[in-house]
Point group: C2
Chain length 438, copies 2
């Protein structure tokens, strides 16, 4: 769970808290610009926001991890090449179109980088491009180039909040998390609401720090932090073609020990990862599955993922229905298909602290059923309301609390564990995705 | 696709066609009985139907395949043991409660078998038990025993339709398919609407034949037929703990060649499998994915499954939205996570006969977009309507047509292929499953 359990009584309270977290580390500036354009593949007007994140001086100390999807977007292809570049000076992000498998996509991304570099007095390979939105459409390069000067001219601080707001698509609210360590800070922003079962990283995440960490160490820390956080969440089991987590250091604050830095980095990643789930498309319950005493960490994580990716269990949670049979089905499906040697004979399971399964059988009765319903209702972010014009929409655009549906699965056969975050499957998710582009 | 493309203008037309398919093979009788009871775990009244399928004489020639879920139901545990029994004389099926991981579940199943055997003058191990419904609840043995005599006394023919109607849960309509071969017949019934990604078999399927086939050959044919049919479908990627396909031969018709029998058996299984998808919970579009020219059959099937199990693509299909980016995402996710060596460079994809992807890039334009929308609308079983009291329900309880969303994925790298059937993800699915038990 997050470093602190937060409760927000209103949108304003949440926005005020975000602002309090948003101070940029020394050495960074941000800007955004928004404009109208018409996509080539479907001639209906659309809006795009460009977000620019710039260092005052290019840095050799940067790291990034990308999607493992076998059809990576053009910005991911370019981004992977950037890892070999001597320095990075800025990140340019657009929403609305993800530039994935579009004809000429890499050239389009490089043209945007080249113009950004020219405006900032940098080399083209010092710019990391990112795109998120519809897969398959082409980047509107000319309108983007026309609006870049505006963004470059507006670069400033002291808040990262405009960038956190600029990179979103279907997100209900921006996401900002920070950690302070040894006189420096790590500030992260994330976008990501659907197509979320990151395999390497989640959607788009930018982590800025003024703490000096050499490139090799920075990259090793990021890989470990991402593996323990963003790689343990799933909103809908789909893996985006654009997933990117980038970490940039301006190197202004020296003397922070590696382990202290990595702990702070991992905390920021964990907080953002849970934010991404909580603000997932149509999410009304966050599900936290802690798998204990498994034979291996991989098995622990796989079982946690199996639970949070089981559609029938997700639907039951959406309805505050403690249909725990579907939970055990999900574990049995995974083991039957992929881990036929795994020993489930000592498996026990609890929901909301209540034992539901042990010794090979369910342990259910009407009293427990009532307590489980109460636990599910207590973890609900908002109640589903009758749709307007047939479309279900979220009742809140801020997180009213950070409570989860708490599930513990104990295998009793080893010493490994994992904590996985997932979400329910709701009418709001279907409404959001049955006609996302129209 | 089915052996014939059927169109039904009304519920009555569909029921009349079912009746025309339903003649029992020689040597079989069926009966059902329905009663009220109160489950032990959640004291609200419920209804259960008992379905009895009996041979005139016990047969040595029977076959069955069961779920690979690592938490199989008690009837599956008992059923596996029955495979070693000398003969089978009857199948007793109940709906409403699946008897999975309930304390004393195996003993409960055996008590029901013993009483069924006593009534029919058989040995207890000549009865195959099956249960479907809520996971985790206990079988109401006493009421079941009290109502068994009624079913035994009612055994008769000439139609299998009462059994097809007796075994359903959330199905909208019964499913019956038949094939005639060499003077004999194979008649199958199926139940299955949710928790459908069979791994060995689908929910509950009973195949009756009067064609004489020795046990060993019967079992080999069934395994191959199931692998090519029921193991290639997925409604929601969940794998039931109760999946069972049983095949019984009364041996009345001799002289049918093995290959002819197996071809007919496979056709009945394929038709039923597609029926199960078409009648899947909340299904408004059936999606047919044909994967061609893959390196291996396993890769072909896995890619087909990846497409039909991708929630965002399923939602897009529900909304008649040709968001083909989500289709390619699904293929890329699977290959990136599980088949990193697979060559996707020659991949091309079509939907409704229209090329959407080739040479590493999408091939889209507004005209194609319109044609794809028309294809999706043409494959829609019924339009989603505004919910009554917040609950989306199916507009039809019969299949108006058998058209599918037709997807072809050509890898261009080998000689293997597979055809996989799946479905969209709709508000009707969420409504059905967010509060199934209440």
């Amino acid at each position: 769970m997050p470093s602190t359990q937060l409760i927000f009584a209103s949108r304003e309270a949440h926005r005020a808290w975000l602002a309090s977290q948003a101070k940029l580390p020394a050495g960074f500036r941000v800007a955004t610009t928004r404009f109208d354009f018409t996509p080539r593949e479907a001639p209906k007007p659309a809006k795009m926001t460009l977000t620019l994140i710039a260092l005052d001086r290019p840095t050799a100390d940067f790291a990034a991890v990308f999607t493992k999807n076998a059809f990576p977007g053009a910005p991911v292809i370019v981004g992977r090449a950037r890892l070999a570049a001597p320095r990075l000076g800025a990140v340019i992000v657009n929403n609305k179109i993800s530039n994935v498998c579009a004809p000429g996509g890499v050239e389009a991304a490089e043209r945007v980088c080249a113009e950004t570099a020219r405006l900032l007095g940098l080399r083209p390979d010092e710019i990391l491009p990112s795109s998120t939105g519809v897969i398959g459409w082409s980047l509107p390069v000319e309108p983007m180039l026309a609006h870049l000067p505006q963004a470059a001219a507006a670069l400033g601080g002291p808040s990262i909040l405009p960038a956190a707001e600029g990179i979103v698509t279907t997100d209900l609210y921006p996401k900002v998390r920070r950690a302070e360590v040894g006189g420096g800070s790590i500030v992260g922003i994330a976008k990501g609401a659907g197509m979320i079962e990151p395999n390497m990283a989640t959607m788009l995440v930018y982590l800025l720090t003024d703490i000096a960490v050499p490139r090799a160490e920075l990259r090793a820390s990021l890989t470990r932090a991402v593996d323990a956080t963003f790689n343990c969440i799933s909103v809908d089991s789909d893996t985006s073609t654009s997933d990117t987590v980038a970490l940039l250091s301006s190197g202004r604050v020296s003397g922070v020990e590696g382990p202290a830095f990595e702990a702070a980095l991992t905390q920021v990643c964990r907080d953002l990862a849970e934010d991404v789930v909580r603000n997932g498309e149509g999410v009304r319950h966050v599900i936290r599955v802690e798998v204990r005493n498994a034979a291996t960490p991989a098995l622990a994580r796989a079982l946690g993922k199996a639970v949070v990716n089981a559609p029938l269990f997700k639907c039951a949670v959406a309805g505050n229905d403690p249909n725990v049979g579907r939970l055990v089905q999900a574990i049995g499906k995974h083991v039957g298909a992929h881990e036929t040697g795994a020993d489930l004979s000592r498996l026990s399971a609890r929901m909301g602290g209540i034992e539901i399964f042990s010794g090979g059988a369910f342990r259910l009765n009407p009293e427990k059923e009532n307590a489980l319903v109460a636990h599910l209702k207590g973890a609900e972010l908002y109640a589903s309301a009758a749709p307007k014009d047939g479309v279900f929409t979220a009742a809140v655009d801020y997180p009213p609390h950070e409570r989860c549906v708490e599930i513990v699965v104990d295998l009793g056969t080893g010493g490994a564990g994992a904590t996985v975050f997932g979400a329910d499957l709701t009418h709001e998710y279907v409404s959001e995705n049955a006609d996302y582009r129209s």
